[in-house]
Symmetry: C2
Subunit: 182 residues, 2 copies
């Protein structure tokens, strides 16, 4: 866990938007741990990149640092020999997912992973539902549309809904399994 519990609570108080992201992250932590425990897959969240400004070297203690934006997606790993990479994205909007939630660096990275034959997707939380939205569908949408957001109806149509499961959290690999089968 990156944040001790007390910090997590503070985040909740201060920033409800961030908190919703945290909730999704928490569910995915359950899922990924389940996969590891059952020897199904080894997928980890990358640590948040930090720009370090001031360090106490004797104590190896960081005194000033800032959160940075990652240029890759947050989660990656291996499943049945396949390279898997995805990001968890939360929107409070009900009718659409704003494309600005994905940085231009991340969009470039998604294209790279597709080119290298990896499995890449967004796990989108919208209207309290969870969708696996494949990287290729995301890139296709951007290429074919001038819109700055993806309609909820489109996500429902192209995406694959995952229902929350008490033991498994958000078992996104069931979707990947189907796609590998095809």
């Amino acid at each position: 866990m990156l944040y001790p519990n007390n910090i997590k609570k503070n985040f909740t108080k201060i920033n409800n938007h961030a908190n919703r992201g945290m909730d999704l992250e928490y569910l995915l932590e359950i899922t990924n741990q389940y996969y590891i425990d059952k020897d199904i897959a080894y997928i980890y969240k990358k640590p948040t990149p930090i720009g370090i400004v001031k360090v106490d070297y004797d104590q190896r203690k960081i005194l000033e640092a800032y959160f940075q934006k990652p240029s890759t997606l947050d989660y990656n790993g291996i499943y049945k020999g396949y390279y898997i990479e995805f990001d968890a994205k939360v929107t409070k909007q009900k009718s659409a997912f704003p494309i600005t939630n994905v940085s231009s660096h991340q969009i470039t990275h998604i294209k790279h992973i597709l080119k290298a034959k990896g499995i890449v997707f967004l796990l989108i939380m919208i209207n309290d539902e969870y969708y696996v939205f494949m990287g290729q569908d995301f890139i296709d949408f951007i290429n074919k549309n001038e819109r700055k957001s993806i309609p909820y109806s489109y996500i429902k149509e192209k995406g694959y809904e995952i229902k929350y499961n008490f033991t498994k959290g958000l078992d996104y690999l069931q979707v990947i399994d189907k796609l590998i089968g095809e």
Copy 2:
């Protein structure tokens, strides 16, 4: 880059061992960037995990944090559809590579990646030479030996030496290419 240049210089002064690690990291940064630029592979160093203690939320500024030990390997990504993971390890010892350079969490993780059919290795710097030492050879050595270090002669025998190249840094994928071919 995780560390601004001034911090990197301080590290150099304070800790020569860390500095040697930094040098290897710097070479691999050149290599991985070369792979990305040439659309060969997408392999990144994971950010160092940080345990955050105190944050100024208004400024999104970290006021107290500590470096943590990663339980996975530092580098991972995708090459020709293959999952690649490795760690860069430096030893000042001339006759052997101490196994304690690899944490028990990392050893477990290497076993997991092998099981999931990923390509996993250590990139070992010893006697100013660089070796790709495959995960399976590493695990085999641990299983068959009581020794706490791997003799240099064994690394020379089982590992694959990579020579430094001005443009490519340490082109470790040439080794992987050969192994994929077999």
